[in-house]
Amino acid sequence: MQALHLRDARFRYKGSTGWAIDGVSLDVEKGEFVTILGPNGSGKSTICMMSNGLVPHALPGDLEGTAEVFGLDVRDHPVAELATKVGIVFQEPESQLFCMSVEEEVAFGPENLAVPRDEIGERVEWALELVGMKGYNDRSPFSLSGGQKQRVAIAAALSMRPEMLVLDEPAYALDPIGRIELYSVLKDLKEKHGMTVLLAERDGEEAAAFSDRLVLMKGGRIIKSGPPRLMLRDPEDLRSIGVTPPQVADVAHLLNARLMRSKFSFLNVDEAEKAIVGEIMAHKAGGGK
Protein backbone atom coordinates (compact mmCIF):
# COMPACT_ATOMS: atom_id res chain seq x y z
CA MET A 1 0.00 0.00 0.00
CA GLN A 2 1.40 3.35 -0.93
CA ALA A 3 1.22 6.50 1.15
CA LEU A 4 -0.16 8.43 -1.81
CA HIS A 5 -1.49 6.95 -5.02
CA LEU A 6 -2.67 9.24 -7.80
CA ARG A 7 -3.59 7.85 -11.19
CA ASP A 8 -4.66 10.27 -13.95
CA ALA A 9 -5.95 12.60 -11.27
CA ARG A 10 -7.59 15.79 -12.39
CA PHE A 11 -9.01 18.50 -10.15
CA ARG A 12 -10.76 21.72 -10.92
CA TYR A 13 -11.63 24.13 -8.11
CA LYS A 14 -15.27 25.16 -7.96
CA GLY A 15 -15.87 28.24 -10.05
CA SER A 16 -12.61 27.85 -11.92
CA THR A 17 -12.32 27.08 -15.60
CA GLY A 18 -8.86 25.52 -15.65
CA TRP A 19 -7.72 22.24 -14.16
CA ALA A 20 -5.43 22.77 -11.19
CA ILE A 21 -4.04 19.31 -11.75
CA ASP A 22 -4.54 17.80 -15.14
CA GLY A 23 -3.83 14.11 -15.44
CA VAL A 24 -1.33 13.51 -12.66
CA SER A 25 -0.05 10.04 -11.82
CA LEU A 26 2.12 10.01 -8.75
CA ASP A 27 3.02 7.40 -6.15
CA VAL A 28 4.68 8.08 -2.84
CA GLU A 29 5.92 4.90 -1.17
CA LYS A 30 6.13 4.55 2.58
CA GLY A 31 9.42 5.88 3.87
CA GLU A 32 10.07 7.99 0.77
CA PHE A 33 10.96 11.68 0.85
CA VAL A 34 9.46 13.20 -2.29
CA THR A 35 9.86 16.84 -3.25
CA ILE A 36 7.56 18.41 -5.83
CA LEU A 37 9.20 21.35 -7.58
CA GLY A 38 7.15 23.78 -9.59
CA PRO A 39 6.37 27.46 -10.11
CA ASN A 40 3.26 29.19 -8.75
CA GLY A 41 0.14 27.63 -10.20
CA SER A 42 1.75 24.33 -11.11
CA GLY A 43 -0.63 22.29 -8.96
CA LYS A 44 1.77 21.28 -6.21
CA SER A 45 -0.35 22.88 -3.48
CA THR A 46 -3.42 21.10 -4.76
CA ILE A 47 -1.67 17.76 -4.48
CA CYS A 48 -0.62 18.61 -0.92
CA MET A 49 -4.16 19.49 0.07
CA MET A 50 -5.43 16.33 -1.51
CA SER A 51 -3.24 14.24 0.75
CA ASN A 52 -5.45 14.80 3.75
CA GLY A 53 -8.70 15.35 1.97
CA LEU A 54 -8.91 19.13 2.24
CA VAL A 55 -9.29 18.78 -1.49
CA PRO A 56 -12.12 17.97 -2.22
CA HIS A 57 -13.89 18.25 1.13
CA ALA A 58 -12.90 21.69 2.39
CA LEU A 59 -11.95 23.10 -1.02
CA PRO A 60 -14.68 21.78 -3.26
CA GLY A 61 -14.48 21.09 -6.95
CA ASP A 62 -14.47 18.33 -9.53
CA LEU A 63 -12.14 15.46 -8.80
CA GLU A 64 -11.52 12.82 -11.44
CA GLY A 65 -9.28 9.81 -11.57
CA THR A 66 -7.81 7.83 -8.70
CA ALA A 67 -6.73 9.58 -5.52
CA GLU A 68 -5.91 7.31 -2.61
CA VAL A 69 -4.13 7.96 0.65
CA PHE A 70 -2.94 4.80 2.41
CA GLY A 71 -5.48 2.89 0.39
CA LEU A 72 -8.38 5.18 1.25
CA ASP A 73 -10.20 7.03 -1.52
CA VAL A 74 -10.05 10.72 -0.57
CA ARG A 75 -13.55 11.24 -1.88
CA ASP A 76 -15.05 8.74 0.52
CA HIS A 77 -13.26 9.61 3.74
CA PRO A 78 -13.65 12.85 5.71
CA VAL A 79 -10.69 15.10 6.54
CA ALA A 80 -10.98 14.17 10.21
CA GLU A 81 -10.27 10.55 9.34
CA LEU A 82 -7.48 11.20 6.83
CA ALA A 83 -5.92 13.65 9.29
CA THR A 84 -5.08 10.70 11.52
CA LYS A 85 -2.81 9.37 8.82
CA VAL A 86 -1.51 12.52 7.19
CA GLY A 87 -0.21 15.65 8.91
CA ILE A 88 0.09 18.86 6.95
CA VAL A 89 2.10 22.06 7.39
CA PHE A 90 1.16 25.18 5.42
CA GLN A 91 3.25 28.08 4.23
CA GLU A 92 1.98 30.82 6.52
CA PRO A 93 3.25 30.34 10.07
CA GLU A 94 0.86 32.90 11.48
CA SER A 95 -2.43 31.42 10.37
CA GLN A 96 -1.88 27.80 11.28
CA LEU A 97 -1.05 28.38 14.95
CA PHE A 98 -4.16 29.35 16.84
CA CYS A 99 -3.62 28.34 20.45
CA MET A 100 -2.31 30.53 23.22
CA SER A 101 0.71 28.43 24.01
CA VAL A 102 3.03 26.07 22.18
CA GLU A 103 1.99 23.19 24.39
CA GLU A 104 -1.70 23.64 23.68
CA GLU A 105 -0.98 23.88 19.98
CA VAL A 106 0.92 20.62 19.87
CA ALA A 107 -1.63 18.92 22.13
CA PHE A 108 -4.61 20.07 20.08
CA GLY A 109 -4.50 17.27 17.51
CA PRO A 110 -4.24 14.33 19.94
CA GLU A 111 -6.88 15.97 22.17
CA ASN A 112 -9.27 15.96 19.26
CA LEU A 113 -8.53 12.28 18.76
CA ALA A 114 -9.37 11.59 22.43
CA VAL A 115 -5.90 10.25 23.15
CA PRO A 116 -5.49 9.55 26.90
CA ARG A 117 -4.00 12.46 28.83
CA ASP A 118 -0.68 10.83 29.81
CA GLU A 119 -0.01 9.82 26.28
CA ILE A 120 -0.75 13.31 25.00
CA GLY A 121 1.86 14.65 27.39
CA GLU A 122 4.42 12.16 26.08
CA ARG A 123 3.62 12.93 22.48
CA VAL A 124 3.95 16.67 23.07
CA GLU A 125 7.41 16.23 24.60
CA TRP A 126 8.48 13.86 21.84
CA ALA A 127 7.29 16.14 19.05
CA LEU A 128 8.83 19.28 20.55
CA GLU A 129 12.15 17.48 21.02
CA LEU A 130 12.11 16.30 17.42
CA VAL A 131 11.79 19.83 16.09
CA GLY A 132 14.25 21.32 18.53
CA MET A 133 11.67 23.30 20.50
CA LYS A 134 11.95 21.47 23.79
CA GLY A 135 11.12 23.66 26.76
CA TYR A 136 9.03 26.11 24.77
CA ASN A 137 5.79 24.69 26.14
CA ASP A 138 4.47 27.84 27.77
CA ARG A 139 5.58 30.33 25.16
CA SER A 140 2.93 32.09 23.17
CA PRO A 141 3.08 31.75 19.39
CA PHE A 142 3.08 35.52 19.03
CA SER A 143 6.50 35.71 20.64
CA LEU A 144 8.21 33.19 18.35
CA SER A 145 10.28 33.82 15.23
CA GLY A 146 9.02 32.61 11.86
CA GLY A 147 11.31 29.61 11.88
CA GLN A 148 10.25 28.67 15.38
CA LYS A 149 6.59 28.97 14.45
CA GLN A 150 7.00 26.64 11.52
CA ARG A 151 8.77 24.11 13.69
CA VAL A 152 5.91 24.27 16.16
CA ALA A 153 3.54 23.70 13.25
CA ILE A 154 5.52 20.60 12.33
CA ALA A 155 5.41 19.41 15.93
CA ALA A 156 1.67 20.00 16.02
CA ALA A 157 1.30 17.74 12.97
CA LEU A 158 3.71 15.12 14.29
CA SER A 159 1.96 14.78 17.65
CA MET A 160 -0.90 13.15 15.80
CA ARG A 161 1.56 10.42 14.85
CA PRO A 162 0.75 10.59 11.16
CA GLU A 163 2.20 8.09 8.74
CA MET A 164 3.01 10.81 6.24
CA LEU A 165 3.97 14.47 6.68
CA VAL A 166 3.06 16.91 3.93
CA LEU A 167 4.59 20.39 3.77
CA ASP A 168 3.39 23.04 1.32
CA GLU A 169 6.21 25.58 0.80
CA PRO A 170 7.03 25.65 4.52
CA ALA A 171 9.98 28.03 4.10
CA TYR A 172 7.92 30.63 2.25
CA ALA A 173 8.06 33.38 4.84
CA LEU A 174 11.32 32.49 6.55
CA ASP A 175 14.64 34.29 6.77
CA PRO A 176 17.92 32.39 6.21
CA ILE A 177 18.21 31.21 9.83
CA GLY A 178 14.63 29.99 9.81
CA ARG A 179 15.20 28.12 6.56
CA ILE A 180 18.29 26.39 7.87
CA GLU A 181 16.46 25.32 11.04
CA LEU A 182 13.51 24.05 9.06
CA TYR A 183 15.45 21.96 6.56
CA SER A 184 17.61 20.56 9.31
CA VAL A 185 14.44 19.26 11.00
CA LEU A 186 13.22 17.75 7.72
CA LYS A 187 16.58 16.12 7.13
CA ASP A 188 16.46 14.57 10.61
CA LEU A 189 12.93 13.36 10.07
CA LYS A 190 14.07 11.54 7.00
CA GLU A 191 17.41 10.23 8.11
CA LYS A 192 16.76 9.43 11.74
CA HIS A 193 13.08 8.59 11.72
CA GLY A 194 12.36 7.28 8.24
CA MET A 195 9.30 9.49 7.99
CA THR A 196 7.33 9.51 4.74
CA VAL A 197 7.44 13.11 3.55
CA LEU A 198 5.87 15.00 0.69
CA LEU A 199 7.34 18.47 0.25
CA ALA A 200 6.26 21.12 -2.25
CA GLU A 201 8.75 23.85 -3.14
CA ARG A 202 9.23 26.69 -5.60
CA ASP A 203 13.00 26.71 -5.31
CA GLY A 204 15.20 23.68 -5.61
CA GLU A 205 18.13 24.84 -3.55
CA GLU A 206 17.77 23.03 -0.25
CA ALA A 207 15.59 19.96 -0.40
CA ALA A 208 17.16 18.45 -3.47
CA ALA A 209 20.07 17.23 -1.42
CA PHE A 210 18.20 14.79 0.78
CA SER A 211 15.11 13.96 -1.23
CA ASP A 212 14.67 10.45 -2.58
CA ARG A 213 12.83 11.76 -5.56
CA LEU A 214 12.18 15.05 -7.31
CA VAL A 215 8.95 15.57 -9.21
CA LEU A 216 8.90 18.51 -11.62
CA MET A 217 5.50 20.06 -12.26
CA LYS A 218 4.16 22.80 -14.47
CA GLY A 219 0.66 23.77 -15.49
CA GLY A 220 -0.95 21.01 -13.48
CA ARG A 221 1.13 18.24 -15.03
CA ILE A 222 4.15 16.24 -14.05
CA ILE A 223 6.89 16.98 -16.55
CA LYS A 224 9.57 14.69 -15.16
CA SER A 225 10.34 12.73 -12.06
CA GLY A 226 13.26 10.77 -10.70
CA PRO A 227 16.14 10.74 -8.25
CA PRO A 228 17.75 14.15 -7.62
CA ARG A 229 20.99 13.38 -9.40
CA LEU A 230 19.13 12.47 -12.51
CA MET A 231 16.80 15.45 -12.37
CA LEU A 232 19.63 17.90 -11.75
CA ARG A 233 21.96 16.58 -14.38
CA ASP A 234 20.73 19.21 -16.78
CA PRO A 235 19.64 22.29 -14.83
CA GLU A 236 17.84 23.49 -17.94
CA ASP A 237 15.12 20.95 -17.12
CA LEU A 238 14.30 22.90 -13.99
CA ARG A 239 14.68 26.28 -15.63
CA SER A 240 12.30 25.32 -18.39
CA ILE A 241 9.51 24.77 -15.89
CA GLY A 242 10.32 27.97 -14.04
CA VAL A 243 12.22 26.57 -11.06
CA THR A 244 15.67 27.85 -10.10
CA PRO A 245 18.08 24.93 -9.95
CA PRO A 246 20.58 24.65 -7.10
CA GLN A 247 23.67 26.66 -8.01
CA VAL A 248 25.95 23.68 -7.42
CA ALA A 249 23.99 21.77 -10.04
CA ASP A 250 24.85 24.53 -12.51
CA VAL A 251 28.48 24.30 -11.47
CA ALA A 252 28.52 20.54 -12.06
CA HIS A 253 26.83 20.89 -15.41
CA LEU A 254 29.20 23.61 -16.60
CA LEU A 255 32.26 21.68 -15.44
CA ASN A 256 31.07 18.60 -17.23
CA ALA A 257 30.54 20.57 -20.40
CA ARG A 258 33.98 22.21 -20.24
CA LEU A 259 35.80 19.02 -19.39
CA MET A 260 33.72 17.00 -21.80
CA ARG A 261 33.07 14.38 -19.22
CA SER A 262 29.95 13.73 -17.22
CA LYS A 263 31.44 12.65 -13.96
CA PHE A 264 30.38 15.56 -11.77
CA SER A 265 27.11 15.56 -9.90
CA PHE A 266 26.69 17.85 -6.90
CA LEU A 267 23.65 17.92 -4.67
CA ASN A 268 25.05 20.31 -2.12
CA VAL A 269 28.09 22.45 -1.31
CA ASP A 270 29.78 19.66 0.69
CA GLU A 271 29.71 17.25 -2.22
CA ALA A 272 30.90 19.94 -4.60
CA GLU A 273 33.79 20.89 -2.36
CA LYS A 274 34.91 17.31 -1.90
CA ALA A 275 34.77 16.44 -5.59
CA ILE A 276 36.48 19.61 -6.72
CA VAL A 277 39.27 19.37 -4.17
CA GLY A 278 39.75 15.79 -5.26
CA GLU A 279 39.99 16.88 -8.86
CA ILE A 280 42.44 19.69 -8.06
CA MET A 281 44.66 17.34 -6.07
CA ALA A 282 44.56 14.79 -8.85
CA HIS A 283 45.55 17.48 -11.30
CA LYS A 284 48.46 18.59 -9.13
CA ALA A 285 49.58 15.03 -8.59
CA GLY A 286 49.34 14.27 -12.26
CA GLY A 287 51.60 17.23 -13.03
CA GLY A 288 49.02 19.19 -15.01
CA LYS A 289 47.98 16.74 -17.70
Binding site: N40, G41, D175, P176, V243, V248, L255, V269
Partner: protein, 284 residues
Protein backbone atom coordinates in the same frame (compact mmCIF):
# COMPACT_ATOMS: atom_id res chain seq x y z
CA UNK B 1 28.32 42.98 -13.41
CA UNK B 2 30.32 46.14 -13.06
CA UNK B 3 31.02 47.02 -9.47
CA UNK B 4 30.55 50.68 -8.65
CA UNK B 5 31.97 52.73 -5.86
CA UNK B 6 29.69 54.04 -3.14
CA UNK B 7 28.00 57.35 -3.72
CA UNK B 8 30.90 59.68 -3.02
CA UNK B 9 30.61 61.22 -6.44
CA UNK B 10 26.84 61.67 -6.55
CA UNK B 11 24.57 64.26 -5.08
CA UNK B 12 22.84 62.91 -1.99
CA UNK B 13 19.13 62.36 -1.82
CA UNK B 14 19.17 60.71 1.59
CA UNK B 15 21.61 61.40 4.39
CA UNK B 16 21.38 59.50 7.64
CA UNK B 17 23.57 60.86 10.43
CA UNK B 18 24.21 59.12 13.75
CA UNK B 19 20.76 57.65 13.73
CA UNK B 20 19.47 55.93 16.84
CA UNK B 21 16.00 54.50 17.05
CA UNK B 22 14.34 52.83 20.02
CA UNK B 23 10.85 51.39 19.88
CA UNK B 24 8.28 52.22 22.55
CA UNK B 25 8.74 48.96 24.40
CA UNK B 26 12.43 49.74 24.84
CA UNK B 27 13.88 47.73 21.96
CA UNK B 28 16.90 49.51 20.54
CA UNK B 29 16.46 48.70 16.87
CA UNK B 30 19.04 51.11 15.46
CA UNK B 31 22.11 51.90 17.47
CA UNK B 32 24.27 54.19 15.40
CA UNK B 33 23.84 54.37 11.68
CA UNK B 34 25.44 56.67 9.16
CA UNK B 35 24.42 56.27 5.56
CA UNK B 36 24.48 58.50 2.51
CA UNK B 37 22.51 57.58 -0.58
CA UNK B 38 23.04 59.33 -3.89
CA UNK B 39 20.59 59.97 -6.71
CA UNK B 40 20.15 57.00 -9.00
CA UNK B 41 21.86 54.45 -6.81
CA UNK B 42 20.78 50.80 -6.57
CA UNK B 43 21.33 49.70 -3.01
CA UNK B 44 20.49 46.56 -1.12
CA UNK B 45 20.15 46.82 2.65
CA UNK B 46 20.59 43.31 3.96
CA UNK B 47 20.41 41.61 7.29
CA UNK B 48 18.56 38.90 9.17
CA UNK B 49 15.46 39.39 11.31
CA UNK B 50 16.11 41.95 13.99
CA UNK B 51 19.02 43.55 12.16
CA UNK B 52 17.20 46.87 11.95
CA UNK B 53 16.93 47.01 8.17
CA UNK B 54 13.17 47.48 8.12
CA UNK B 55 13.34 50.02 10.94
CA UNK B 56 15.94 51.95 8.97
CA UNK B 57 13.76 51.86 5.86
CA UNK B 58 10.78 53.22 7.78
CA UNK B 59 12.90 56.08 9.03
CA UNK B 60 13.47 57.11 5.44
CA UNK B 61 9.87 57.94 4.66
CA UNK B 62 8.82 59.29 8.00
CA UNK B 63 6.83 56.33 9.27
CA UNK B 64 9.31 56.37 12.08
CA UNK B 65 11.17 59.41 13.39
CA UNK B 66 14.69 59.31 14.82
CA UNK B 67 15.06 58.91 18.57
CA UNK B 68 18.31 60.81 18.11
CA UNK B 69 20.43 61.74 15.14
CA UNK B 70 18.97 62.91 11.86
CA UNK B 71 17.59 61.67 8.60
CA UNK B 72 17.73 64.25 5.82
CA UNK B 73 15.65 63.50 2.74
CA UNK B 74 15.63 65.80 -0.27
CA UNK B 75 17.49 68.45 1.68
CA UNK B 76 15.20 68.64 4.72
CA UNK B 77 15.18 66.57 7.92
CA UNK B 78 12.32 64.07 8.18
CA UNK B 79 11.40 65.52 11.55
CA UNK B 80 10.22 68.63 9.68
CA UNK B 81 8.12 66.79 7.09
CA UNK B 82 5.04 64.66 7.48
CA UNK B 83 4.64 61.24 5.91
CA UNK B 84 2.49 62.52 3.07
CA UNK B 85 5.10 65.09 2.09
CA UNK B 86 7.88 62.51 2.25
CA UNK B 87 5.82 60.14 0.11
CA UNK B 88 6.56 62.47 -2.80
CA UNK B 89 10.24 61.76 -2.47
CA UNK B 90 10.47 58.29 -0.97
CA UNK B 91 8.00 55.64 -2.09
CA UNK B 92 7.69 52.55 0.10
CA UNK B 93 6.35 49.26 -1.24
CA UNK B 94 5.50 46.90 1.61
CA UNK B 95 6.34 43.24 1.56
CA UNK B 96 2.70 42.28 1.73
CA UNK B 97 0.87 43.99 -1.14
CA UNK B 98 -2.46 43.09 0.43
CA UNK B 99 -1.81 45.70 3.11
CA UNK B 100 -2.44 48.33 0.47
CA UNK B 101 -4.95 46.99 -2.03
CA UNK B 102 -8.58 47.99 -1.60
CA UNK B 103 -9.91 49.55 -4.79
CA UNK B 104 -12.21 48.03 -7.35
CA UNK B 105 -9.81 48.32 -10.23
CA UNK B 106 -6.07 48.36 -10.74
CA UNK B 107 -6.33 51.83 -12.28
CA UNK B 108 -8.16 53.25 -9.27
CA UNK B 109 -5.63 51.65 -6.98
CA UNK B 110 -2.73 53.24 -8.80
CA UNK B 111 -4.52 56.55 -8.88
CA UNK B 112 -4.99 56.59 -5.09
CA UNK B 113 -1.50 57.75 -4.15
CA UNK B 114 -1.07 60.71 -6.53
CA UNK B 115 -4.65 61.82 -5.84
CA UNK B 116 -3.94 61.89 -2.10
CA UNK B 117 -0.88 64.01 -2.75
CA UNK B 118 -3.05 66.55 -4.52
CA UNK B 119 -1.38 66.39 -7.91
CA UNK B 120 -3.31 68.06 -10.75
CA UNK B 121 -5.50 65.76 -12.86
CA UNK B 122 -3.26 65.68 -15.91
CA UNK B 123 -0.22 64.82 -13.80
CA UNK B 124 -2.18 62.06 -12.08
CA UNK B 125 -3.28 60.67 -15.42
CA UNK B 126 0.26 60.68 -16.83
CA UNK B 127 1.75 59.13 -13.74
CA UNK B 128 -0.84 56.37 -13.72
CA UNK B 129 -0.17 55.55 -17.37
CA UNK B 130 3.59 55.52 -16.82
CA UNK B 131 3.23 53.31 -13.75
CA UNK B 132 1.00 50.83 -15.58
CA UNK B 133 3.49 50.66 -18.40
CA UNK B 134 6.47 50.35 -16.07
CA UNK B 135 4.94 47.39 -14.23
CA UNK B 136 3.32 45.71 -17.22
CA UNK B 137 -0.24 45.94 -15.94
CA UNK B 138 -2.00 47.03 -19.11
CA UNK B 139 -3.81 43.71 -19.49
CA UNK B 140 -5.29 43.82 -16.00
CA UNK B 141 -5.91 47.52 -15.55
CA UNK B 142 -9.68 47.24 -15.21
CA UNK B 143 -9.64 44.17 -12.95
CA UNK B 144 -9.98 44.26 -9.16
CA UNK B 145 -6.47 44.02 -7.70
CA UNK B 146 -7.55 41.51 -5.07
CA UNK B 147 -8.50 39.03 -7.76
CA UNK B 148 -4.99 38.88 -9.21
CA UNK B 149 -2.19 36.46 -8.49
CA UNK B 150 0.51 37.37 -5.99
CA UNK B 151 3.05 38.39 -8.62
CA UNK B 152 0.57 40.76 -10.24
CA UNK B 153 -0.67 42.11 -6.91
CA UNK B 154 2.85 42.96 -5.97
CA UNK B 155 3.37 44.80 -9.24
CA UNK B 156 0.13 46.72 -8.63
CA UNK B 157 1.34 47.71 -5.19
CA UNK B 158 4.67 48.87 -6.59
CA UNK B 159 2.94 50.68 -9.45
CA UNK B 160 0.74 52.52 -6.97
CA UNK B 161 3.89 53.76 -5.28
CA UNK B 162 5.64 54.67 -8.57
CA UNK B 163 2.60 56.72 -9.57
CA UNK B 164 3.46 59.24 -6.88
CA UNK B 165 6.66 59.77 -8.88
CA UNK B 166 9.07 59.59 -5.97
CA UNK B 167 12.78 59.83 -6.66
CA UNK B 168 13.50 56.95 -4.28
CA UNK B 169 11.81 53.56 -4.27
CA UNK B 170 12.12 51.41 -1.17
CA UNK B 171 11.06 47.82 -1.72
CA UNK B 172 10.66 45.44 1.19
CA UNK B 173 11.41 41.84 0.17
CA UNK B 174 9.84 42.32 -3.26
CA UNK B 175 10.42 38.76 -4.47
CA UNK B 176 8.94 36.82 -1.54
CA UNK B 177 6.46 34.31 -2.85
CA UNK B 178 7.38 34.83 -6.49
CA UNK B 179 8.64 32.03 -8.66
CA UNK B 180 11.68 32.36 -10.94
CA UNK B 181 9.79 33.86 -13.86
CA UNK B 182 7.78 36.36 -11.84
CA UNK B 183 10.84 37.35 -9.87
CA UNK B 184 12.93 37.86 -12.96
CA UNK B 185 10.24 39.98 -14.62
CA UNK B 186 9.90 42.20 -11.56
CA UNK B 187 13.63 42.70 -11.18
CA UNK B 188 13.95 43.57 -14.86
CA UNK B 189 11.35 46.27 -14.50
CA UNK B 190 13.08 47.64 -11.45
CA UNK B 191 16.32 47.75 -13.38
CA UNK B 192 14.61 49.79 -16.07
CA UNK B 193 13.42 52.26 -13.48
CA UNK B 194 16.95 52.53 -12.14
CA UNK B 195 18.29 53.06 -15.65
CA UNK B 196 15.81 55.89 -16.00
CA UNK B 197 17.32 57.53 -12.93
CA UNK B 198 15.27 56.32 -9.96
CA UNK B 199 17.08 55.45 -6.76
CA UNK B 200 16.27 51.89 -5.73
CA UNK B 201 16.63 50.58 -2.19
CA UNK B 202 16.02 46.86 -1.74
CA UNK B 203 15.43 45.53 1.74
CA UNK B 204 16.08 41.82 1.67
CA UNK B 205 17.78 38.79 3.11
CA UNK B 206 18.02 37.01 -0.24
CA UNK B 207 21.68 37.18 -1.10
CA UNK B 208 21.22 35.64 -4.53
CA UNK B 209 18.97 38.53 -5.45
CA UNK B 210 21.51 40.99 -4.15
CA UNK B 211 24.31 39.35 -6.08
CA UNK B 212 22.43 39.63 -9.31
CA UNK B 213 21.06 43.16 -9.06
CA UNK B 214 22.44 45.50 -6.45
CA UNK B 215 25.30 47.84 -7.13
CA UNK B 216 25.94 48.58 -3.50
CA UNK B 217 25.37 46.43 -0.43
CA UNK B 218 24.83 47.63 3.13
CA UNK B 219 25.04 44.80 5.64
CA UNK B 220 23.25 45.34 8.94
CA UNK B 221 23.21 43.41 12.18
CA UNK B 222 21.85 44.35 15.59
CA UNK B 223 21.11 47.89 14.63
CA UNK B 224 24.47 48.70 13.13
CA UNK B 225 26.00 48.76 9.68
CA UNK B 226 28.73 46.16 9.50
CA UNK B 227 29.71 46.70 5.92
CA UNK B 228 28.93 49.15 3.14
CA UNK B 229 30.53 48.30 -0.17
CA UNK B 230 29.99 46.98 -3.64
CA UNK B 231 28.59 43.44 -3.81
CA UNK B 232 31.93 41.78 -4.39
CA UNK B 233 33.31 43.40 -1.29
CA UNK B 234 30.32 42.22 0.70
CA UNK B 235 30.45 38.66 -0.55
CA UNK B 236 34.11 38.15 0.06
CA UNK B 237 33.63 38.88 3.74
CA UNK B 238 32.34 35.55 4.92
CA UNK B 239 32.64 36.43 8.59
CA UNK B 240 30.47 39.50 8.38
CA UNK B 241 27.80 37.64 6.47
CA UNK B 242 27.70 34.93 9.07
CA UNK B 243 27.54 37.49 11.89
CA UNK B 244 24.52 39.04 10.25
CA UNK B 245 22.68 35.73 9.92
CA UNK B 246 22.89 35.86 6.15
CA UNK B 247 23.56 32.98 3.84
CA UNK B 248 25.85 33.77 0.96
CA UNK B 249 24.73 32.10 -2.27
CA UNK B 250 25.83 28.47 -2.51
CA UNK B 251 28.35 29.29 -5.18
CA UNK B 252 29.98 31.93 -2.95
CA UNK B 253 30.11 29.46 -0.06
CA UNK B 254 31.83 26.99 -2.34
CA UNK B 255 34.32 29.63 -3.49
CA UNK B 256 35.16 30.45 0.14
CA UNK B 257 35.84 26.82 0.85
CA UNK B 258 38.17 26.59 -2.11
CA UNK B 259 40.05 29.75 -1.23
CA UNK B 260 43.17 27.70 -0.52
CA UNK B 261 43.30 26.79 -4.17
CA UNK B 262 43.49 30.35 -5.45
CA UNK B 263 39.78 30.65 -6.06
CA UNK B 264 38.70 34.27 -5.44
CA UNK B 265 36.31 34.74 -2.54
CA UNK B 266 33.95 37.19 -4.17
CA UNK B 267 32.46 34.88 -6.75
CA UNK B 268 28.74 35.27 -7.23
CA UNK B 269 27.80 33.15 -10.23
CA UNK B 270 28.36 29.54 -11.32
CA UNK B 271 29.96 30.70 -14.57
CA UNK B 272 32.61 32.71 -12.75
CA UNK B 273 33.36 29.83 -10.44
CA UNK B 274 33.80 27.38 -13.29
CA UNK B 275 36.05 29.85 -15.09
CA UNK B 276 38.40 29.94 -12.11
CA UNK B 277 38.06 26.22 -11.44
CA UNK B 278 39.15 25.40 -14.95
CA UNK B 279 42.41 27.16 -14.28
CA UNK B 280 42.91 25.18 -11.08
CA UNK B 281 42.00 21.87 -12.66
CA UNK B 282 44.08 22.53 -15.68
CA UNK B 283 41.43 22.34 -18.35
CA UNK B 284 41.27 24.59 -21.39
Amino acid sequence: MIPSAPSSTREKIVSVQRLKFTYEGGVEAIRDVNLDIGYGEYIAIVGGNGSGKTTLAKNLNGLLRPTSGSVVVGGKPTSEQNVAALARIVGYAFQNPDYQLFCSSVEDEIRFGPTNLGYPDDVVHNNVEKAIEAMNLEHVRKLPPLSLRLGERRRVSIASVIAMDPQVLVLDEPTTGLDAEESSELMQRLKRLNDEGKTIILITHDMKLVAEHAKRVVVMAQGRILLDSDPRGAFSDHEILRQSNLEPPAVTQLAHRLAAYDIPRDIISPEELVFHLMKAIGGT
